[in-house]
């Protein structure tokens, strides 16, 4: 199984990256009935790095993300954050909060991931009270909103009064409020309009540069992967078929499936018939 060893890797921007590993996933398995949704999946994410998991529906990318976050349990394998195993669920408030501070999640649909009855400010306050009961909450809320490009006006708004892009900003702010080591973004820009998607992708790049948070980017969009990740893992039918530095994988795909994914991206002179034929052949 290909393994991304960050110690040897070179950052695509040219700087030698001798960085600590923040997230390490080892030999993850998960079956639903007879279907192997996740089949021996391993990867690592360097501190402050960005790793993309690419695949189509049924590839197991979302199940992998949910196991990493803790919304789904694994049949076998480990999810280590700073070398501590997340998969053994110990009960109790302290463990629950510690787990939340390891990994946070931004969902695909900002219309559904916010409680429709809670204002933006109240949602953030709730999270801050839970994790940082002694902090100066109004100041921190203003800070967080400012960090995602929202103002005080939005703090009093209910989710339905906001646009899709604004809601996704709120969801990001809420995840950042916990100050997690890793942020999992599950198709976090897929539901947004192109122009808004660009704003959010830029925002995410800025936040990573500023805070050194690690991203695990779950997406089907190779353009997005190219734009925001350092490394990429391509999944198909629950297994990793190819992995490596993003620029490398996209420029010189080794696996037929990666090549098919790349060819499927529409562009002028695109030939859907040959792709359909290649898909059937694979």
């Amino acid at each position: 199984m290909p393994d991304l060893n960050q110690e040897d890797a070179v950052d695509p921007k040219g700087a030698p990256a001798v960085r600590r590993t923040v997230l390490e996933v080892v030999g993850l398995h998960r079956a639903f009935g007879g279907v192997r949704a996740v089949d021996d999946v391993s990867f690592t994410l360097a501190e402050g790095g960005s790793l993309g998991i690419v695949g189509e529906s049924g590839s197991g990318k979302t199940t992998t993300a949910r196991i990493v976050v803790g919304l789904e349990r694994a049949d076998a394998g480990q999810v280590l954050v700073h070398r501590r195993d997340r998969t053994e669920h110990r009960r109790g408030r302290a463990h629950r909060l510690a787990r939340a501070r390891e990994v946070q999640l931004v969902f695909q649909d900002p219309y559904l991931s916010l409680d429709p009855r809670t204002t933006v400010g109240a949602a953030l306050r709730e999270t801050l009270r839970l994790h940082f009961p002694d902090a100066d909450h109004p100041r921190r809320i203003a800070e967080l909103l400012d960090q995602v490009g929202l103002g005080e006006r939005e703090a009093d708004a209910l989710p339905r009064q906001l646009s899709g892009g604004q809601r996704q900003r709120v969801a990001i702010a809420r995840a950042l409020a916990v100050e997690p080591a890793v942020l999992v973004l599950d198709e976090a820009v897929a539901a947004l309009d192109v122009s808004v998607q660009a704003q959010i992708l830029n925002l995410l790049a800025d936040i990573r540069a500023r805070t050194g948070i690690g991203y695990l980017f779950i997406t089907h969009d190779l353009g997005v992967v190219r734009c925001v990740t350092d490394d990429v893992v391509v999944m198909r039918h629950g297994r990793i078929v190819e992995s490596g530095p993003t620029t490398e994988v996209l420029a010189h795909p080794q696996h037929d499936y990666t090549r098919l994914l790349l060819d499927s991206v529409p562009r002028p002179g695109w030939d859907p018939r040959s792709i359909a034929a290649a898909r059937r052949a694979l």
């Binding site: 189509e56 529906s57 309009d193 830029n202 562009r267 002028p268 002179g269 695109w270 859907p272």
Partner: protein, 325 residues
């Protein structure tokens, strides 16, 4: 032959400050694929739904929407029903939401032709099997339920259903958005094949400029209820003449563009409660001048580039504008 001819189409909804659709011009000829591109709220779906006479409650309209020479806006309910089951058909974005999950796919396919009395039950079933064959599915699918087939197959069933009434025009409203990329290629290839075979006109509504450029003969870009630019797909993609088209291209994460930050369009489209004076894109436009905020630009032909029209006072400057950086 022009199948769809929309001229100066305006649509107004109650409690809004501006028309939702403001002077839309669009034509689709037999065998031609026209892409209508825009972001949510641009009015692209409303335009395509108007072609079938599916208007929101309380809408008032102006202009004409002609299908095969007949104005949809003034049709009697009986004529509209004939139009929807025969001349024009729609393929929706989410086949799972558009197909009744409790009925067999065979019922779904034959329902409309049987209800309007075009075909008897046996003939309808025969035609359904024929159309399934045309979209590359076995006749056994007729006995399946929607839950038993994949999303890509279901969208092909949807296309087969659209073909049942032998339409002259297919309206596809984001037909591949809910599908995987490789499945998208398959559905697009299928639409292209069918169009060649039956000579149907295709209006393809999408938010994806790359997809639009890849599959269509002509592209029209919509913004805030207006068509801001129209022209042959490749030219428009290579040399956008409206700053919005340029900005849309620049903000799409593409595989062939330089890496790094995207050129995002700041701000957001005007809401329906805002009155518009001048160009609707002016507040977000990098090359806007006073003229743009005062006077709405008309959709004018571009000299030296036949078939291209753009609604911009400064279309000559867009090529080197900062939005294309």
């Amino acid at each position: 032959m022009t199948i769809l001819d929309i001229q100066a189409y305006r649509l107004r909804l109650p409690d809004t400050a501006r028309p939702v659709l403001d002077g839309v011009d669009l034509t689709v000829r037999a065998g031609e694929t026209v892409a209508l591109v825009g972001e949510s709220g641009s009015g692209k779906s409303l335009t395509s739904r108007s072609v079938l006479g599916l208007l929101p409650d309380g809408a008032t309209t102006g202009g004409t929407v002609r299908v095969n020479g007949e104005d949809v806006l003034t049709m009697t309910p009986e004529r509209l029903r004939d139009l929807r089951t025969g001349t024009a058909a729609m393929v929706f974005q989410d086949p799972r939401a558009a197909i009744n999950p409790l009925r067999r796919l065979g019922d779904f396919l034959t329902e409309s032709v049987r209800l309007n009395g075009r075909l008897a039950a046996a003939a309808a079933a025969e035609r359904a099997a024929e159309m399934l064959d045309a979209v590359g599915l076995p006749a056994a699918v007729l006995d399946r339920y929607p839950g038993q087939v994949s999303g890509g197959m279901l969208q092909r069933v949807m296309i087969a259903a659209a073909l049942m009434g032998d339409p002259a025009l297919i309206l596809a409203d984001e037909p591949t958005t809910a599908l995987d990329v490789t499945t998208q290629a398959e559905v697009v290839a299928l639409l292209g094949d069918l169009q060649e075979r039956f000579g149907t006109g295709l209006l393809f509504v999408t938010h994806d400029l790359g997809l639009a450029a890849a599959i269509s003969d002509r592209v029209s870009v919509m913004y805030a209820g207006r068509i801001v630019e129209t022209g042959p797909a490749e030219d428009l993609f290579d040399r956008p003449r409206h700053p919005y088209t340029a900005a849309l291209l620049a903000s799409t994460p593409r595989l062939d563009a330089p890496q790094g930050r995207l050129a995002a369009i700041e701000g957001r489209p005007p809401g329906l409660r805002e009155e518009l004076t001048g160009c609707p894109f002016a507040p977000r436009c990098p090359i806007a001048t006073e003229l743009c905020t005062e006077q709405a630009p008309a959709l004018l032909s571009i000299e030296a580039e036949p078939g291209r029209r753009t609604a911009c006072h400064h279309s000559d400057r867009t090529g080197e504008g900062s939005a294309d950086a």
